[in-house]
């Protein structure tokens, strides 16, 4: 076991370190900051789903905010009206999101990239209005308020023993719920993408005709990708509703769908870690753009007021353009390229002209 640990690639150590930091986070930061990281993880889950669709299977969706809305309202209605246990509603929200996504994936097969983008965009635009119509069900414009869930007693006790600090808050509990859900979903995605479904999706992304010629069920995998990504978005939406404590038509505007797509691209399409980076990006960008920039004295006030007035949209757009030009594989792609360059430079000093085997045959592509 120890020898396996020693031979494990550096990547696994990095993952382990990140996992440990995420696990211990609530004990080291304030409850409020835990709630911020909960939102980061929620966006990461939604972006992971979008990544499966866009990065790995090559379809586009400008409407994943709608699936998040579906998941959030499922949880809100079940919890507030039918008094279902909130933890149970998370997978239910995912399943409903996934089912709707799968059904939407069927007509989507007929649409080429541009028209698929338009169709999903239409879905995002219509979502707030659609939510308002069935007033008895969704609460219409009043929205639905949810009480923050109390951590179960045994978790509170365990937390108190480990941290020896103030009582566990509902925000910290939701952080752990999100962390565990995210870890499970990431593991499922990682596994799926390593094996046959992942290879099939990548083949479809790189060329549908050769993929079909190789005997891959193109229609099946494309709808699977849609359904799976909608499942992830539904779960993320459910957690979003729980951690915010309030759902209303205005909490799922069109901008949300854009943010998810930009986050996926900036983080790095077709990577597993990308969504986590993308989630942090989506959460922190509006805050940096409106708060941090305006508080920096060295930025002239005309420039910072442009950022503040236009809102995060300007910064999203600017960063998207920069990333597309200089780092098309996103931040993760940039980091991986830098790491490879560094390693080859370090190795190059010792082994010149040696042909290197790819470090991990599983992750080709």
């Amino acid at each position: 076991m120890v020898s396996r640990l020693r031979r494990a690639p550096a990547r696994y150590w990095l993952v382990g370190a990140v996992a440990l930091v995420l696990l211990g986070l609530p004990s080291a930061v304030t409850s409020f900051e835990s709630s911020e990281w909960t939102l980061v993880l929620i966006f990461a889950i939604a972006i992971m789903g979008l990544n499966v669709l866009v990065g790995y299977s090559g379809q586009i969706s400008l409407g994943h905010g709608a699936f998040m809305a579906l998941g959030a309202y499922t949880t809100a209605i079940l919890v507030s009206r039918y008094h279902v246990n909130y933890l149970l509603t998370i997978p239910i929200a995912g399943v409903i999101g996934g089912a709707v996504g799968f059904l939407l994936g069927i007509p989507a097969l007929r649409l080429s990239a541009l028209y698929l983008a338009l169709a999903t965009f239409a879905l995002a635009v219509v979502t707030p209005s659609l939510i308002k119509r069935p007033v008895e069900l969704t609460g219409g414009v009043q929205g639905i308020l949810m009480l923050p869930p109390d951590p179960p007693q045994f978790v509170k006790d365990a937390f108190a023993t480990v941290t020896n600090g103030p009582q566990m808050t509902s925000e910290q509990w939701l952080y752990y719920v999100t962390l565990v859900t995210g870890a499970v979903l990431f593991w499922v995605a990682w596994n799926m993408l390593r094996h046959r479904p992942g290879r099939a999706m990548r083949a479809i992304r790189d060329g549908e005709v050769p993929a079909a010629a190789s005997g891959i069920n193109v229609a099946g995998y494309k709808t699977l990708a849609f359904g799976m990504s909608a499942f992830y978005a539904g779960v993320a939406g459910s957690l979003y509703g729980l951690s915010t404590g309030y759902v209303s038509p205005d909490t799922f505007p069109v901008a949300l769908s854009f943010q998810l797509l930009v986050g996926a691209v900036v983080g790095g399409l077709a990577s597993i870690v990308g969504p986590l980076v993308g989630g942090a990006f989506v959460y922190w960008l509006p805050i940096v753009s409106s708060q941090t920039i305006s508080s920096q004295d060295w930025i002239p006030s005309q420039i910072s007021s442009v950022f503040v007035k236009a809102g995060p949209a300007v910064t999203y757009g600017a960063l998207l353009i920069l990333i597309m030009i200089f780092a098309p594989n996103g931040i993760v792609g940039l980091a991986t390229a830098a790491y490879k360059a560094l390693r080859s430079r370090l190795r190059g000093a010792n082994e010149q002209g040696t042909v290197q085997m790819p470090p991990d045959p599983h992750t080709v592509g």
Binding site: V2, S27, K132, G165, T244, P253
Partner: protein, 408 residues
Amino acid sequence: MTRLGPRSAAMVACLIALAACGGSGGTATDPGVTSNSILLGVTIAQSGPAAAYGTIANAANAYFTYVNSQGGVNGRKITYKILDDGYNPAQTVPLTKQLVEADQVFAMFGGLGTQSQTAVRDYLNAKKVPQLFVATGATTFMQDFSQHPYTIGWQPPYQGEARIYAKDVLANHPNAKIGVLYQNDDYGLDYLKGLTDGLGANASMIVDKESYDVTAAVPTLAAQLTTLKAKGADTLFIFATPAFTIGSLAIVTAIHWAPLEYVNSVSDPAAYMQIAASKGAKIDGAISVGYIKDPTDPQWANDAGMQLYQKVIASCSTCKPSDGFNIYGVAVAYTMVDVLKQAGSNLTRANVMSIAGSNLNETNPFLLPGVTVTTTATDHYPITQEEVIKWSANAWHLQPPLIDEQVS
């Protein structure tokens, strides 16, 4: 059974050490107050579709700057931290938590948006942080005081305003056929409820109501307005935010319709009416209500309150003095300072909330003469008096008397 290797044991030890560094000490005084400063916070839309409202917070800040220049409140200078939530309640929640838990504000003041403030109302009440003078007329913020004693509104409730319109219609146009165009959200629905309740048994005077979503493009309102005209309405109520009101007034004239128009107070600042007129709208005879002095009304040119406003607003470089939202911001900031002054040395959240919610009796220099800002143990509606105003010769003209509309 596996033993913890030295590396993993070190990691766990670090984790526990980090954890042990956590924990907070409590202080006896309320957060946000020091011997020479008071920190207030707000979330408001400064970008996105509702960005026009953002100037309210800047105007309020201008008033605080003025007060600070006069020595502050009992020797304390007010700092007002303004955060942009883009009118999205999902962003209001983390930003409010940031203000309360990270920035440790004394109170939230002037939060904007019915959905946004509803999203954080339970949280602020649970934490006993005052949610003062929210910038929305949604009736619930005043009506539900008993369930949420740390929340109080300021401006007249939309339902009360609509009841005044109902009274006006019943008194002066009892045979009117009423058409209603309303924004399909809490704001529009609140107005509609007030109108329907105010008409009471005569609610059948409403021949048709048409709604639109705030994400709609303004020209598409022609469809709803044409329908209302076709149903035979001769009186039109426009429960819409400024951009849509301006557009609707222009469209009504364009489709050759000349109903009696009732414009709501959110959209009635003279500047907006003049824009509508410049787009071809025939708006003479339009009716609204007012409770604040309009900066473009020449009758207040020598008024002490208006001159103070002009002096205060000059310190806000991005604020247009003619914008009705700005005098609103200054007026509500005046009330905020008044409450802080009344609290005196007992500057605790509980005391400030008790004054704001149940012990307010203020004459505000920026409001119409005779309008008072009052709260008592049984009345949690700070402002309920409004005056009917009629548009003619490119300006609003007050139609006394002041009407006091209580919404129970």
